[in-house]
């Protein structure tokens, strides 16, 4: 039986639903993955009967769901109730699914640990002293803990893939343009996507297929051109020197496992990998500095009261509404966009991005690989509340998730076992609109079974 069907059985009557809700609340009190939880949804019940009838899901705090607070895990939007739903959310609701909670994250999607959230820090469900990852750490921790069957989360430079890897679940970032961004609070519009977190391939695939497709509310959506789904050849990395020992070993083991499955592996080198992080942060910070400029307190969101002038109100509202990481990125982006700096930063980053895009395309076209296997993150989950790794090191650690983001490619992080009682995860990258190929390969690697739950967690009254 498919996991989603098991969930439908699990929640088929009020009594069972109450049991689930109570168990969920108890478990979440420890990991603090959710910001707002309404077992019956926050507004009207789902619109129609459909394939997802009665299935609860979580949305990242950056994704709009009517009736829920679209907080972006920030002080700025702490009380902002969304008057509308994201297209991806609507499509799931139309198929019968129901938003029950919002997932905690680093404010406005900026961070790698969900420690930069306004109200609470999310803990890793495998080891509560470690981070869940981020930015979308809440949604990943909730799914990895089996609180809900799936979540929609934002991914800009790895926001859902990295926590999926650190918490031990599947995380799909779709091709840029495959899923509408309408309803996703912007961080860096040219790389923002809405992706899916789940514990099994069938669910991941069904949710993706439900939310994908052109949307007139997002002019950057596109119609996918069909791409052969089968993966014969996978590009693999030779140089693993920048990875932690468990991740490097796990990578080698996984390459061997691919060969055992009859998949050919070919050595590749990722294009401009040493420049990816600088390229990403210039572009993302530049876009964020203007996308976040709308938070002024004028017509919605937090507002610092009793200021002398409208200009002073905007200044103080922004000063108090954003956290340090937000301000750092806004300042960086503002600096990079200044007319005199534009050629030095934006123009060069744009060039580098084009080269990365071409370099990635060349791997698929010239080296003739169907997919590329990389680490998701160079390390496993790191301890909470410490300065290590340092903020700059954390940004550098985003390099593997950043490459597909810059190139607009679909990529999925998938669990590949554990080491030191913490999950391990790797990333598969496909050409544009190659999601079906990812599902196909993941199905062969992982089988039908859901990812293992953290050992401390027992199944919630019969869920997979």
């Amino acid at each position: 039986m498919e996991p989603l069907t098991l969930w439908q059985n699990l929640l088929r009557d009020t009594e069972r639903k109450t049991t689930w809700a109570q168990a969920l609340a108890k478990r979440d009190a420890v990991i603090r993955s959710l910001l707002e939880f309404h077992p019956d949804g926050a507004c009207a019940p789902p619109h129609s009967e459909g394939a997802f009838q009665g299935i609860p899901f979580v949305v990242d705090s950056r994704i709009a769901a009517e009736g829920f607070r679209l907080t972006c895990s920030s002080r700025m939007l702490a009380d902002f109730v969304s008057p509308y739903s994201a297209t991806a959310v609507l499509r799931l609701q139309n198929a019968g699914a129901q938003v029950v909670a919002t997932g905690n994250a680093d404010a406005f999607g900026m961070g790698a640990s969900t420690e930069n959230a306004a109200t609470s820090v999310t803990r890793n469900p495998w080891n509560n002293d470690c981070v869940a990852g981020g930015a979308s750490g809440g949604a990943a921790a909730a799914v990895a803990s089996g609180l809900v069957p799936f979540a929609l989360a934002a991914d800009t430079g790895g926001a859902l893939r990295q926590p999926a890897s650190l918490c031990g679940c599947l995380g799909l970032r779709p091709t840029y343009g495959a899923v509408s961004r309408h309803g996703l609070a912007a961080h860096a519009s040219s790389m923002d996507t809405i992706g899916v977190l789940a514990r099994d391939i069938a669910t991941l695939r069904r949710v993706y297929e439900c939310i994908a497709g052109p949307d007139e509310r997002d002019p950057t959506t596109a119609s996918p051109t069909p791409l052969a789904s089968s993966a014969q050849r996978v590009g693999v990395l030779d140089d693993l020197s920048d990875l932690s020992a468990p991740v490097a070993q796990n990578y080698r083991d996984t390459v061997a496992a691919l060969r055992d499955l009859g998949i050919e592996t070919r050595p590749i080198a990722l294009p401009l990998l040493p420049h990816a992080v600088a390229t990403y942060y210039v572009i993302a910070a530049a876009e964020a500095s203007t996308s976040l400029a709308r938070y002024t307190g004028v017509s919605y969101g937090f507002r610092q009261p009793d200021t002398a002038t409208p200009e002073e109100m905007i200044r103080q509202t922004r000063s108090l509404g954003f956290n340090d990481e937000n301000k750092l990125r806004i300042l960086l982006g503002t600096h990079a966009l200044r007319a005199e700096n534009y050629p030095r930063y934006i123009a060069r980053a744009t060039q580098a991005r084009a080269a990365i895009r071409q370099g990635m395309a060349a791997l698929f076209d010239n080296v003739d690989v169907d997919l590329i296997l990389t680490p998701t993150y160079p390390t496993q989950a790191f301890p909470l509340g410490t300065d290590a790794p340092h903020s700059i090191e954390r940004k550098h650690a985003d390099r593997y998730t950043i490459l597909p983001s810059l190139a607009g490619l679909p990529a999925a992080s998938f669990p590949t076992g554990t080491a030191n009682d913490l999950p391990l995860g790797l990333q598969l990258i496909a050409p544009p609109f190659g999601e079906a190929r990812l599902f196909d390969a993941l199905g062969r690697i992982l089988g039908d079974a859901p990812c293992p739950l953290p050992p401390t967690m027992t199944a919630l009254g019969g869920q997979p």
């Binding site: 709308r294 002024t296 017509s299 007319a339």
Partner: protein, 474 residues
């Protein structure tokens, strides 16, 4: 003139699109505050703009009419600045690749034609409106996100008069193309002027920008004032400061608003949410069919081909519906000068009196041509024709039908006219004898009496002829 003046204009027009620039809100003015708003034009988190196809068509059409090089791909860019009336804290505009560049537009200066170069035509969204009420500031976002087009000229104008002529000619153009209503007082056409002066041969001087000019007449006055102000300053050995100045229409002066030091770095940046727009062949072909004869060309044709006086030609060319009516009427055989006089006189007066436009009246080229033909054939008197023409504006009836229904057709029945004359002569023996005695003064009086008896139905020429015969022939 000691100094040479250089004037460039930046004109903003509100496009007559149904919806705003990037959302589905109505693109209308005058509604209660904040009623034409949605999450997109309020800049709510997660909302995305979508380009307006109608606005793109209008933008390319105007750029084409201004002889611009049309962008094969135009971009939408963010212009960043904080102000409470700007919901997203950036304005979507076109900085890197506007709709059109390097165009020109001819204006008429008396008997001369002057070519003004167009720097660029770019599309952008409007801001909301701030209202300061005591200690509070209020914002109305109805106008936020409305579709605007900005047309920037090169500094080719050299006086307030020329600038006024440009604005008037430009306004006719946008009205003709149907892309803007051209109303300056309501702000659907706004004009800023960049003005500099210098000694002849020295090139451009330091410019000031004058804003808040809301009529064509004020364009002339504000620029004239500013030229004089700058000349006086230079004569006094002062340096002209690059600054933005505000036109105060009540005082008839310009006042400093901000200097260049306050200038923003707008941090222009291609909007990642809006893909560039690339018109296809069908789009471009469609533009050609929408281009019409431009007002100035039309005016010049009326003068050249029909010898219509300049002011009448100008008047006809101003209103596209009127001009079309005129052209069609002439095509149906009406003498051009006669048709022009009817349109500029009776038709215009009646339209104005009844607050109609050609489109919402019942006049048609066929009807006007028929009325003119009835006069030419002597079936309708000039005075009755005026009444008929007034009625074809109000009533859905042909002139001939109106004439018949009112019994206004002139008679050419000789017997009937003879009878009226005989009666009048009999009633005015004294006058008749005076005339016959050699004093012709009374003839006009007798004419009037006959016409009165005929109640306007008699052909005056025939009456005159017969009356003279009756007076002399006996």
């Amino acid at each position: 003139m000691k100094y040479q003046s250089f004037i460039g204009l930046e004109i903003h027009i509100h496009l007559l699109t149904q919806t705003k620039a990037f959302c589905a809100c109505p693109n209308q003015y005058g509604a209660p505050p904040n009623t034409h708003v949605c999450p997109i034009c309020l800049g709510y988190p997660g909302t995305l703009p979508a380009a307006n196809a109608e606005a793109m068509r209008m933008s390319y059409l105007l750029a084409r009419a201004l002889n611009c090089e049309l962008a094969a791909t135009c971009t939408f860019d963010r212009k960043n600045y904080f102000y409470p009336d700007m919901a997203k804290s950036y304005q979507l505009t076109q900085f890197f690749a506007p709709v059109g560049r390097n165009g020109w537009f001819d204006i008429s200066l008396g008997s001369e034609t002057k070519r003004i170069r167009i720097h660029d035509v770019h599309y952008e969204e409007d801001a909301g409106k701030m209202i300061h009420a005591g200690k509070h500031s209020l914002v109305d976002y109805n106008r936020a996100g409305a579709s605007l087009l900005e047309i920037v000229t090169e500094p080719d104008l050299s006086s307030g008069e020329e600038a006024e002529a440009y604005v008037r000619e430009f306004r006719r153009l946008v009205r003709h193309l149907g892309v803007c209503d051209g109303n300056m007082e309501e702000g659907s056409l706004r004009c800023d002027a960049n003005i500099s002066i210098n000694l002849p041969g020295k090139g451009l001087g330091t410019k000031t920008e004058v804003k808040n000019i809301n009529s064509a007449r004020f364009v002339r006055r504000a620029i004239a004032y500013e030229i004089n102000r700058q000349a006086a300053a230079k004569d006094n050995g002062e340096t002209i400061v690059q600054e933005t100045r505000l036109w105060d229409a009540d005082k008839g002066i310009t006042l400093p608003m901000r200097t260049k030091e306050d200038a923003h770095d707008y941090r222009y940046f291609p909007d990642p949410d809006l893909p560039p727009f690339s018109p296809d062949d069908a789009f471009l072909a469609d533009l050609e069919t929408r281009l019409c004869e431009l007002p100035l060309q039309r005016k010049q044709r009326y003068e050249r081909d029909f010898s219509i006086p300049a002011d009448t030609a100008d008047f006809l060319a101003e209103d596209q519906q009127l001009a079309q009516l005129f052209d069609d009427c002439v095509a149906l055989g009406a003498p051009p000068k006669v048709a022009a006089n009817w349109l500029a006189g009776t038709v215009q007066a009646q339209l104005k009196r009844t607050e109609r436009r050609v489109a919402d009246s019942h006049i048609s080229p066929q009807r006007l041509a028929q009325a003119i033909a009835l006069v030419e054939k002597g079936r309708l008197s000039a005075s009755r024709a005026k009444e008929v023409v007034e009625l074809i504006i109000l009533e859905d009836r042909d002139p001939e039908e109106i004439m018949t229904a009112h019994g206004w057709e002139q008679t050419s029945n000789a017997g009937e006219i003879d009878a009226w004359i005989a009666q009048v002569l009999a009633d005015n023996e004294k006058v008749v004898s005076d005339i016959r005695g050699g004093n012709p003064k009374g003839i006009a009086f007798l004419m009037g009496q006959v016409m009165k008896r005929a109640q306007g139905r008699a052909d005056a020429r025939l009456v005159k002829e017969k009356l003279e015969q009756a007076l002399t022939g006996q």
